[in-house]
């Protein structure tokens, strides 16, 4: 039961991960700072998914990366590209619409159940 629930939850959240990551990349972030940002907003993220995801987003030209070697430790920074901003805005609208629709749907179901 709980195993099924957790696998369903993971599935439900999988699609939102890209959106969550894109939303934090208007300012340049490196891997671990991104993890901390997401964790601060209670977005649980599997690190073995996050780092490959960043690379994929770069390949899809949604983000651009650069190495910063000025500090003691070299860090790779990621930031949204112009194309990335455009896609992010559209994806955000898409998400908002989906949640509205789903909210109405679930609200209706609740009323049905109470009747």
């Amino acid at each position: 039961m709980s195993k099924l629930l957790s696998s369903l939850t993971i599935e439900l959240r999988r699609g939102t991960l890209t959106l969550a990551v894109l939303s934090q990349l208007r300012t340049p972030q490196y891997g671990y700072s991104l993890v901390q940002l997401l964790e601060k907003s209670n977005v649980a993220i599997d690190q073995s998914t996050l780092y490959p995801l960043l690379r994929r987003l770069e390949k899809q030209e949604l983000v651009v990366s650069s190495w910063d070697t000025s500090e003691s430790r070299p860090r790779k920074y990621y930031v949204l590209s112009e194309y990335g901003i455009e896609i992010f805005e559209k994806l955000k609208e898409e998400w908002e619409q989906t949640t509205r629709e789903l909210y109405t749907l679930l609200k209706g179901e609740e009323e049905n159940a109470s009747n």
Binding site: S48, Y51, P52, R55, R73, K76
Partner: protein, 332 residues
Amino acid sequence: MHLIDVYIQEVTRRLPEKNRQDIALELRSTIEDMLPENYTEVEVKEALGKMGSPVSLASGYLDRPMHLIGPRYFDVYVTLLKMIVPIAATIAFIILIAENMFSYNGEEALINIILTIVGKGIWEILSISIHTFFWITLVFAIIERTDTSKEKLPLTTSLKEWTPDDLNNIPYILKGKEISKSSIFGSLLGIAIFTAIYFNAVQLIGVYEKIQGKLQFVTPTFNQEVLHAYWLIVLIAIGVEVALVCYKFVIGQWTRKVAIMNTLRHVVSSTVFILIFSNTNLINPDFISYLERLFNTSIEIKSSIILGVIFLWIVSVVIDVIQGFRKANISK
């Protein structure tokens, strides 16, 4: 420090050469970000635990699939396997029978030949099945890896995506009308065995006697010359049989047309059978005198016996023809 090195190595050795350095550098800086200034081994382990298994991390970086054949090709793959493996196995078995029969020199007993064929046959069928399975799988695994389109939809056997029009090409098969694959392969096998026996009847069918502890062939049942005089029409009948089997395989179910074709092939093969069997010289005189000695009576090949055999043959043919039409007429 050491553990981190090993972890990074475990990830990067699974990645293409050109990405390794960059990813290694990024991973190292990320892992060190997670650790305090003077970290202990316990803390390293904790951090690496959060990073997760190197295998899944590496597979995240790879575009290559982590499966041999994915959902896009799996259905086509299985369909082809089911079609090709039995065909290949049957053909291999038929070839084996033919080889053994035609290279038969008349010295061995029939039972030994059959045992050899069964033994070799099982081996041959197994090895051919494994071979075809391997090659088909290999081809699909390569296609899976070279397919650059990002489409995920499964493909149909025509290697295109499904449209409702595809349904027009698929016959709707009612229960009881289908022609099973096993009956097709059975018929082919039967034809092969018959062909092999016909051309070797003189060495195969007849009286076997135990002489000096060995089973030996004494007298053939049939008269070689008479039997072989009919070779041309026998070949024609075999050709017709094979053609019908192929036709049934393609259509896959009993239709009126299949039933009519089935009747036609019975007419051809029955004509040939009756022609051969009504020849009174067909049975070897030596064989008859052998039987006479055995049972101490005189036996004459009476026309009534021949008529009886022919009658039985015709009855079985009529039953099969009627069955064909009955199946063809099933409509609900």
